[in-house]
Every structure is written in C-alpha cells, then in structure tokens.
C-alpha cells in the first residue's frame, strides 16, 4: 500500500517538469534573442537593459503606489531587453544591411512591420508579433552612427502601444546613465 502511494506520487510529480519546460521565456512568441545583434559588433554593448522574470514583477509592484498605470502595464510583460552599441560611420552601411535582413527574417516569421525608415545616416525598424489578436512582442532596431545610438530593443508580453506611448511621454528621455 505504501509502495503504491509512493509510485502514484512519482507519477504526479513527473508532468510538472514538462509544464515548467513549456513556460520558458525563450519559447515565447514575442521573444527575440538580442545576442544575435551582439555578434554584429566588435565592441561590447554600451547600453544594456535586461529586466525579466521575478525582477520585472518586483519592478511592477514597486511602481504600483506611484504609478498604477505603469504597474498594470508591467504586470502583462515578461521581459524588457535593450542593447546599445557604438557605431562608426564607416560601419553604418554594413550594420544597416544586417538590420534590414533581420527585418526580412522577422517578417518571414510572422512579425508585422509598423515602422520602416531608411535614410542616409539613420535606419529604423519596428515590428510587432500578433498572436490571438493581441500583441505578444515588439522589436525595435535603430541604426545610427554614434556612441550608443544604435539600439536594439525587445519587449515580450501583452503590449498596448498606445499605453506605452502614453506612459513614455511622462518620462523625460535622456541618457540612461543619468537616470
């Protein structure tokens, strides 16, 4: 009887491992591995943001008292990651070409293009991943010569662009080091 109970417990514990594996951030439809962009540059990123998992939940709770709208938006997200790189003007064409190729690959994988800007010294791409009628991820690629003007950004989770724009306007943009 005791042995039967023990084997039943083992059988019940077994599937929980599979469930845990399915919940990996890397498997989320709106996730993009920013290490792909790191390989385009010789230098390390000059700008790096990686807020996900338990830290993101704590950030949401920390902002709930001062900014409930921000907390509500963050509660629907799974990860916010940003990489900024220095880019010489001589390398602009090469990096811009790679960003265009990445934009094409994202479109091939079902990402929708929201913004596409092509200038002589600036290139901007913004894509969103829609799943079940909701935005599940956002990717922004800004290629521009400068210290940290070339930025790659990925937000994973339920995104409301209008809410992001409204909240973002409240905060003054500047250098991240100044925050």
């Amino acid at each position: 009887m005791r042995i039967r109970t023990l084997f039943l417990a083992l059988i019940l514990l077994g599937p929980t491992g599979a469930v845990h594996a399915q919940d990996r951030l890397e498997d989320a439809p709106g996730y993009v591995d920013l290490r792909t962009f790191e390989a385009w540059f010789d230098a390390s990123p000059t700008l790096e943001v990686s807020v996900k998992g338990p830290l993101l939940r704590l950030v949401a709770e920390a902002s709930r008292y001062d900014d409930p709208d921000l907390a509500e938006m963050l509660a629907g997200l799974r990860a916010i990651q940003v990489r900024g790189f220095p880019l010489r003007r001589s390398d602009f064409d090469e990096v811009a070409r790679r960003a265009s190729e990445m934009a094409d690959r994202l479109e091939a994988r079902g990402w929708d293009t929201v913004i596409r800007v092509r200038k002589d010294d600036e290139q901007v791409d913004m894509h969103v991943k829609v799943q079940d009628g909701r935005i599940a991820g956002m990717v922004v690629m800004v290629v521009q010569p400068g210290y940290d003007e070339t930025v790659f950004l990925n937000i994973v989770g339920e995104i409301d662009p209008e809410q992001i724009g409204r909240l973002g306007r409240k905060f003054n943009i500047g250098r991240l080091e100044d925050w």
Partner: protein
Amino acid sequence: MQPFDPAPPRDWMDERLEGYLDGDLTPEETARFERGLRRDDWAAELRRAASIRDGLRALPLPECPPHVTRAVLREARRRARAEWLHRTREGLTHAWRLTARPALAMAVLVALVVVAALVTRPPRPAPARAEVEHALAEVKWTLAYLSEVGRQTGASVHRDVLDAHVFGPMHEALGAFAHDPPE
C-alpha cells in the same frame, strides 16, 4: 555347597516376562529369569503369555478403510504444504529485509532526488531594493525611448513625406490658384 540364590521378586519377573518371550533380556537377566521359573507358577504364566503372543500374531492384519487413508493423506499433504509455505515466507521475508527492501528504498530515494532536481530550481536570492530601483529606472527609460522613437519617426514622416510630397505641393497649388484664379 550351592551358593544362596534368592528368587527374583514377583514384580521383577512380571516386568521381564514379555522381554524374555521376545528375547530382549540380557544373558544375566535371562539366567535369573529362568531360575525364577522354577518356583510358583511362573512356568504356567509363561506358557499363557506365549499362547497370547502366538494368537495375536496369527490374527489377520486389519486394513485401513479407504476414506481414512484419504483423510490421513490429505491431512499429511496439507501439513506439508503449510510447512513449505511457512518456510518459504520466512525465507522471502528474510531476503526482503536484507536486500530487496534496502535496494527498493534506495531506488525510490534516488528517483525522488532526480525528480526534485528536475522540477525545482535552487531558490534565487531576492533582488535588493537598489537593484529593483535601478531596474525601474531602466524600464522608464526604455518606455521614454520608445515614445521618442515614435515621436521622431512621426515627425520625420510628417516632414519628409507629408510636407514634402503632400502638404507642400497642395499649398503651392492653392497659392497659385489664389493669385491667378482661372477665369
């Protein structure tokens, strides 16, 4: 002169009567018993005992009824089987205690450890307050950056596309119409 040899007591004789008939006495007991036959009526007693023995030997051997035989054999087999089961159970219990139970307990323990390692992760230390504050600043900066990208892109589209190719030509056309309206 013959040595004095008293006759054996009666109960001694009685106890050895059958033994004498069956030839089971020692030579000294046989000699003493035969000396005791000379007195009283032990000789007649001996003849009577021999007659009874011979009569009993002449009787036919009784046969055991078949149902009694079957019952006896059945009971014998039952007892033999019960004895075998008892010995086997004791042997298995002994083996279980010595080897199988410890081995099974170890296997279950190993399985539990493996399952626990697969399912659970080591508890991560909670982020410090400063780390959370810094992460919040990073999040706000990211949102501000996104908003700025959208604003600048919109301004760029308005300036480079709408103003240059839509509003500008429309304004020029309207101005020309105002200065030189068609008749």
